[in-house]
């Protein structure tokens, strides 16, 4: 720290450095309407009008705000009878809803897992501290611990592994289903087997069956793949202590699911259009609503949507009135009708976030800021629409 500003950050990884840089760069004015600087109150007023008049407003993003911001976002979505959905793909959560999950916190993986399988993820690039923290990188890995990577190509993570199994993404489901058969000693369909790296999968199944504590780290996956992996882990659980953990890049994506679930009963894709929560993955997913043009106003919280959405969804987002609440200067904020540049949790606001394994962490603010936080902006908009709102 120097003169109340952040001079440099220590102990961070490249992803962390970029995170701090985006949030400590020269910020735009606190509130803008059609690109012009306005008073905060005017921007709140304009936002309330947009959301109040919309037929089906959409609140999305959420993975990079703190739990307080997420609570306020759910309350606002309820106030306006809209839909709320975290930006992340809900498929892993959906699969867990269908059959459940065996999982663990990161400390258990570090302390107990003697076999860790990274299934189509590259944490060395996306979560650079993960392997060293879990003492799973080559340099830190104790004898007797094994790291196996399954992916389409030899990633940086694969370079750290004891074994790399090459598998094209199109064969994920088949490979996981074949592993289930191998684990359960069920005969494999010969045609299927011929398309898979069977020797390697057999060896992996044998390792998983024989381990005392095994873990599978999974990258983003569609519903069938996520389900197949959880089903495999469930089968394995009869033979060994095996857990699975989806890897997340958004700092508080887990918090968004958790807050939504405790307030509504559902972790994603919740509609308040009928005055109570209803959830349908797909039907109420943010990307789907935008692509099908079913939403007529959007509130984007902490997410550069235009850079991440597929073109049809991004095109629709450009056409409808949009409000952005984000500490960063993003393309989405620049294109929005109303943009709030807030104080970031972990930089100039205290906050709580949930790590990808569900462990809540405190964010402390090294820098003082006059700016309001995400939760205050969202609460102010809700209060403008329904001053008598419950709780």
């Amino acid at each position: 720290m120097a003169d109340g500003a952040l001079e440099r950050v220590t102990g961070t990884c490249p992803v962390g450095d970029a995170w701090f840089a985006e949030r400590t760069a020269d910020a735009p004015p606190v509130a803008r309407l059609d690109g012009r600087e306005v008073d905060l109150a005017d921007a709140v007023e304009a936002s309330a009008a947009i959301l109040h008049e919309a037929r089906l407003p959409l609140v999305f993003g959420l993975g990079d705000t703190d739990c307080e911001g997420q609570r306020a976002a759910v309350a606002l979505a309820e106030t306006v009878g809209g839909v709320i959905d975290p930006a992340v793909d809900g498929a892993v959560g959906g699969a867990a809803q269908a059959i459940g999950v065996s999982t663990a916190t990161l400390g258990e993986l570090r302390g107990r897992a003697e076999l860790v399988v990274v299934w189509r993820a590259d944490p060395v690039a996306t979560n650079p501290r993960l392997l060293p923290r879990l003492r799973l990188d080559r340099a830190g890995r104790a004898a007797g611990r094994t790291l196996v990577v399954v992916d389409a190509r030899r990633t940086e993570t694969a370079e750290e592994a004891d074994e790399f199994i090459e598998l094209p993404p199109a064969l994920d489901f088949e490979a996981l289903w074949a592993m289930r058969a191998l684990v359960r000693d069920v005969a494999l369909d010969r045609e299927l087997a011929a398309r898979l790296p069977l020797d390697a999968l057999e060896r992996l199944a044998g390792r998983l069956r024989a381990c005392t504590y095994g873990a599978v780290l999974q990258g983003p996956a569609g519903y069938p793949k996520a389900l197949a992996l959880l089903a495999l882990v469930r089968d394995l659980a009869r033979l060994a202590h095996v857990v699975a953990l989806p890897l997340r890049e958004d700092g508080n994506a887990r918090g968004a699911e958790d807050v939504l679930a405790w307030q509504t009963g559902y972790p994603a894709a919740v509609s308040f259009a009928r005055g109570h929560p209803r959830a349908r993955l797909g039907e109420f997913s943010a990307a789907g609503l935008l692509e099908r043009g079913e939403t007529d106003a959007a509130l984007v919280v902490g997410f550069d949507a235009l850079r991440h959405l597929a073109p049809p969804a991004a095109d629709h987002l450009r056409r409808i009135p949009t409000i952005v609440v984000d500490p960063r200067a993003t393309e989405t904020a620049a294109a929005a009708r109303v943009a709030f540049a807030t104080a970031a949790a972990g930089v100039s606001r205290d906050g709580t976030v949930h790590r990808m394994d569900g462990v809540p962490l405190t964010l402390r603010a090294p820098i003082a800021s006059e700016r309001v936080g995400d939760s205050e902006v969202l609460a102010a908009i809700a209060a403008r629409i329904a001053p008598e709102a419950g709780n």
Binding site: S102, G111, T362, N391
Partner: protein
Amino acid sequence: MLRIAQGRVFDPANGVDGELRDVCLDGGKVVEELPAHAPRIDAGGMVIMPGGVDIHSHIAGPAVNAARKLTPEEHRGDVLDRTAITRSGTGGTVPSTFTTGYRYALLGYTTVVDAATPPLLARHTLAELRDTPIVDAAFLVLMGNNLSLFDLIRNAGPLNEAVAWWLEATGGYGVKLVNPGGVEMWKRGNRNVTSLDDEVEGLGVTPRQVLEAIAGAVDELALPHPVHVHCNNLGVAGNWRTTLDTLDALQGRRAHLAHLQFHAYGGTPGKRPRSRAPELAEHLDAHPEHSADVGQVMFGPAMTMTADAPVSALLREITGGKWVNADLEAETGCGIVPFAYRERNYVHALQWAIGLELFLLSRDPWRVVLSTDHPNGGSFLSYPRLIRLLMDRDFRNEQIGRVNQKAIGRTVLGDDIERQYTLGEIAIITRAGPARLLGLADKGHLGVGADADVTVYSEHEDREQMFATPRYVIKGGRVIVEDGELREAPAGDLLRVAVDPDEAIEGTLRPLFEEHYSVRLDNYPVREPWLLEPARAIPAGRGP
């Protein structure tokens, strides 16, 4: 100011048993008298009790939330709309937070204890409790499989200070042990302990040592609530011996046994259980330092959720359905399996009957109090039906006639037990008793200075109907429920214990944290005001 006038008052803590009285409330407390012009509720023909106190429930935190995520199908059919004063939500066996608060209040309950929070995840429980309106809530901190505490027990380290540190660091109220040692063994290759003297492999401690050491620490710290124990061998035929061993090990020390019904089975492991409720009821009667909540099973849907993860793996094999396992570093585990209890099923009927036996055979209602271990044995919404089973012999016998008769034959319920709980006894097992066992001096009674938490029921012959829909519920002096409808929904308080651990304990804990945790000791204690307020601290050290 509010005068609740001329109702039949049941305030067993103050020896009041159905006498016609006024209850006067002012400034959030019960007061001696009010001016004549004070606003009044005419409670003529009604029954007045202190607000309900639930000593053992699962309403908030990571396990509860995992169960919510697991059951979208339950939420669809049970929804609450947003109103001018309430947030929307969903129900089912595990309601959303707002709905949980409203429904407890609508049932006449004003204080609820969440019975199992992993300390590392206390922030999550606290955040949910803040979104659980109206009721004052406390939570118990899981300490029965904590590697750092095992280390201190093995090495005769400063255990009292460490227990106090964990309570202070989390905002918790009391200490919970769940299958001490067994959950750690589960995480070491799907194993368990089966007796108090099995060693937790490689750690040099046994369940007995953990029980004795931590119960001793809780006693020496003079915490308001004694150690709250979920015994080893839950659900296993023949486990009553483990339960008795546990009580013997804790003889002379205060202890509360959770959901005793699940620990009262005779027979041999792997075979059909039978009832050993009479023996356990007798043992409890003879040991005034011990208490229990029943953990009654009610027929219908339930959600088993427990830190006793190996039990969930067994239930998974029974249901073949959804299953969650969650290992929590260095502290505990978690298992969740949706479940349903069926009248015709031998084991389910036996569990139901054992719960009723415990209620009906125990002579001291102050020490054997009501719970369904919500939502494990059934939802808290089934309490009124349970109350009718206890109060109405004809209804009970009719229900007994409907269930698996082989199971009934293994209990004393077939003998047409005469006992019918009185309203005074119901007031004991649903408020006065739990409050006393929890050490909440301002709860569970209507003496001057008590919290102004009051429930007013219309008299009704059908006790289920009477207790399901209180006429008025008053919390902190405010009328929250009137004629079965919410009038307002203020926040409740967090109830936490006030302990003052010696800071030097952090020096002892620091190397243990570095060994076991993925977070640093300095980041562990909850300090965020938005998670900890509003709160009331109940001091330790008063003694029982």
